[in-house]
């Protein structure tokens, strides 16, 4: 065989591969994907006993991520309360497709439930659908998968609650009057922008008429930039009474600047942060209160939801109720969504009870 035929063969094979993809025109407009959700056909029995010895897999976005480590402790607490066997596993990188192998493995291991935070809503969907067709109950938390690929999604808090608690905290800290500013993440951050919009409507209410939002600055979720933007806000607005930073990076940088400046104690700061990064600023009086949902409660509720699904107490349909241990009763909302509840507020009094 000479060079030419060999290469011709290869090119033919590659074109054969192309031909394998089929014939007839399929484009976005002609394709009609029938969206039928698998499962959910059986009726829920709210009085069914919680099964014991359930096998549940906990799959975070990536392992060794502090946020998910805390969520995992909550999941572990729930598992021991209901005598389930919890297995935590996961990829070391948070790329879109890295969780798929672990989803397939959970199905192979004949687990009863899978509790996961999806790296990519769509990339995990085919694997989740296959796993569900094999009897696995799927609960997403923190970050949802495509709704037709999971049974229940446990949302940390609604955008409205997150916005409302921040407005309430800044009103408390400033005494309800004066100029305030927002230090956000990036200008196109989906979550932050949604919260800021709702905060603006909250501020427009008569109860908050004393507060005036003078500027929204963007620290790009970068420590250095957020630090400089805080400095800029204080110089540009000498009458500034408070800063709201709805991002964990921003609030920590702003707190660091305030605590070492003349504005300490004069300009209030609040927003969303983690207790470990904010502890010393709460203790030294720079920050009176800030908020975040408790990831361990999130893991706890998600694990209970998986067990309730596997025990037949719920099927993921709207309006079904189940008891989630210490957290009390929850009702499944629209599109199979559960909401953990209002964010937890952290103050000098309770901050030492949290470690994340």
């Amino acid at each position: 065989m000479t060079t030419r035929p060999a290469i011709t063969t290869l090119v033919l094979l590659l074109s054969g591969a192309v031909a394998l993809t089929g014939c007839g025109g399929t484009s976005k407009n002609s394709a009609q994907t029938a969206a039928t959700a698998p499962g959910g056909t059986a009726a829920a029995n709210p009085n069914a006993a919680m099964k014991q010895g359930l096998k549940i897999t906990f799959l975070p976005k990536q392992v060794n991520n502090p946020y998910f480590t805390v969520a995992q402790t909550g999941a572990g607490k729930a598992a021991s309360a209901i005598k389930a066997e919890l297995k935590a596993t996961g990829p070391s990188d948070a790329s879109a497709s890295s969780q798929v192998t672990y989803i397939n493995t959970a199905a192979q291991q004949k687990q009863d439930g899978l509790v996961l935070s999806a790296n990519d809503a769509n990339a995990v969907a085919p694997a989740l659908k296959t796993a569900r067709s094999q009897g696995l109950k799927v609960v997403t938390f923190d970050s949802d998968a495509a709704p037709d690929a999971r049974d229940v999604f446990v949302n940390q808090a609604t955008a409205k609650e997150i916005a409302a608690v921040q407005v309430k905290m800044i009103a408390d800290a400033t005494g309800g009057s004066g100029e305030i500013a927002i230090l956000s993440a990036t200008p196109n951050a989906t979550n932050q922008n949604a919260w800021i919009e709702i905060m603006k409507t909250e501020l427009a209410k008569p109860a908050n008429s004393g507060l005036k939002l003078v500027e929204t600055a963007y620290g790009n979720d970068d420590d250095q930039t957020s630090f400089q933007k805080t400095q800029g806000l204080l110089q540009a607005h000498p009458n500034l009474k408070g800063i709201v930073s709805p991002t964990t990076v921003g609030i920590a940088a702003a707190a660091r600047y305030l605590s070492s400046s003349e504005y300490k104690g004069k300009v209030a700061l609040t927003g969303l942060g983690t207790p470990n990064q904010m502890r010393k600023f709460v203790q030294d009086g720079t920050v009176k209160s800030f908020a975040l949902w408790d990831p361990s409660k999130l893991g706890y509720l998600a694990t209970y939801a998986a067990a309730a699904l596997a025990s037949g107490q719920i099927t993921g349909a709207s309006g079904e109720k189940f008891k989630a241990g210490d957290l009390g009763e929850y009702t499944v909302g629209d599109k199979g969504e559960l909401v953990l509840g209002p964010p937890t507020e952290f103050t000098k009094d309770n901050i030492d009870q949290f470690d994340f």
């Binding site: 407009n29 192998t101 192979q108």
Partner: protein
């Protein structure tokens, strides 16, 4: 020549023995789940893209070159599929277009290496960043996921009546083609000749630049094909798809017994290498071994694969009392 073949037959025997060992240990540790048809199907899916790209890359490495841009070509191909699909193109148009662009990416690598005489390591580290960057330009951080089930089923369901994933079927067909090319054609003999001694090959009338150029183009086209497989398998077109996959492919090729210095290696060995890395990973995950250990084991295997051939060569040469100049 005969001695060289014998030496490598030994490395490939070792790989097959290791595979058998993994299979036996797997069966015992998981109570039979490891070799169940369901798990073998997932294993096949997981190694599909790596096996595809490893085929042409084997030839590239045998010729003494390397292509680290393969995973970025995969990402670019995935991003293009998403963008063109959004623009209303038919998949029958998208697939050949994307493969052609993959071939073009390979051609750029090939031209830079052969015409400008730059080292392929440097060139393809550059295009690794370049093609990934282009993928981000094309699709940004968006994800396109509304592909029809009639296509995504090629990536999520087995060939009817078997537990064979479609990507593996595709890979098997291409593997036969590449094996014939590498082992039973004059083109393949020139690939070995170039890898063993480029100067010598040139003086013997081998068109070195042309051969290398063709290899890079084939690699680009196959990486784009792997991008199509990847996109349908996850039904998600994203610019960051397959990031870091080049290391898994290079690892499999080296573990398969291909010398990083060129001139040696077989396609069969590489396929065994792909299967061994994939099988071991699958087994460790199925057996609930932590991700950290998984990374350590993969790293050690890679080191062994690079060390073992050079050690055996050294031992053989010292035992026969001949030194390698």
């Amino acid at each position: 020549m005969a001695e060289r073949l014998r030496g490598f037959a030994r490395w490939e025997t070792a790989l097959v023995l290791l595979l058998v060992l993994v299979a036996i240990v797997g069966q015992l540790r998981t109570g039979g789940a490891f070799l169940s048809s369901g798990n073998l199907f997932y294993l096949g899916l997981d190694i599909g893209e790596i096996a595809l790209i490893a085929l042409p890359l084997t030839l590239v490495v045998v010729s003494g070159e390397i292509d680290l841009s393969v995973a970025s070509v995969l990402g670019l191909s995935s991003a293009l599929i998403g963008e063109l699909w959004d623009a209303g193109w038919t998949l029958e148009m998208i697939v050949p277009t994307v493969i052609a662009i993959g071939a073009l990416c390979g051609a750029v690598n090939g031209l830079l290496v052969t015409r400008l005489g730059l080292p392929s390591l440097a060139v393809t580290i550059g295009t690794l960043a370049l093609y990934r960057g282009l993928a981000l330009v094309v699709l940004g951080d968006r994800a396109v996921a509304d592909f029809p089930g009639s296509y995504t089923r090629f990536g999520t369901t087995p060939v009817p009546g078997t537990s064979l994933p479609y990507p593996i079927l595709l890979c098997a067909v291409l593997a036969i083609g590449f094996a014939i090319t590498l082992h039973f054609s004059s083109f393949g003999r020139s690939v070995y000749a170039i890898g063993a001694n480029e100067e010598g090959a040139r003086f013997s009338g081998v068109r070195v630049k042309r051969v290398k150029f063709i290899l890079f183009v084939l690699t680009g086209a196959t990486a784009a094909l792997a991008g199509i497989v990847y996109t349908f398998r996850f039904s998600s077109a994203r610019a960051d798809n397959g990031a870091g996959l080049e290391l898994a492919v290079v690892a499999a090729v080296l573990l398969g017994g291909v010398s990083i210095f060129g001139g040696r290696g077989t396609l069969g060995g590489v396929l065994a290498g792909v299967l061994l890395l994939g099988g071991l990973r699958n087994l460790l995950i199925l057996d609930d071994v932590s991700t950290e250990i998984l990374t350590v084991v993969t790293g050690l295997l890679l080191l062994v694969s690079v060390l073992a051939p050079s050690l055996t060569t050294r031992i053989r040469s010292s035992s026969t009392g001949r030194s390698l100049s």
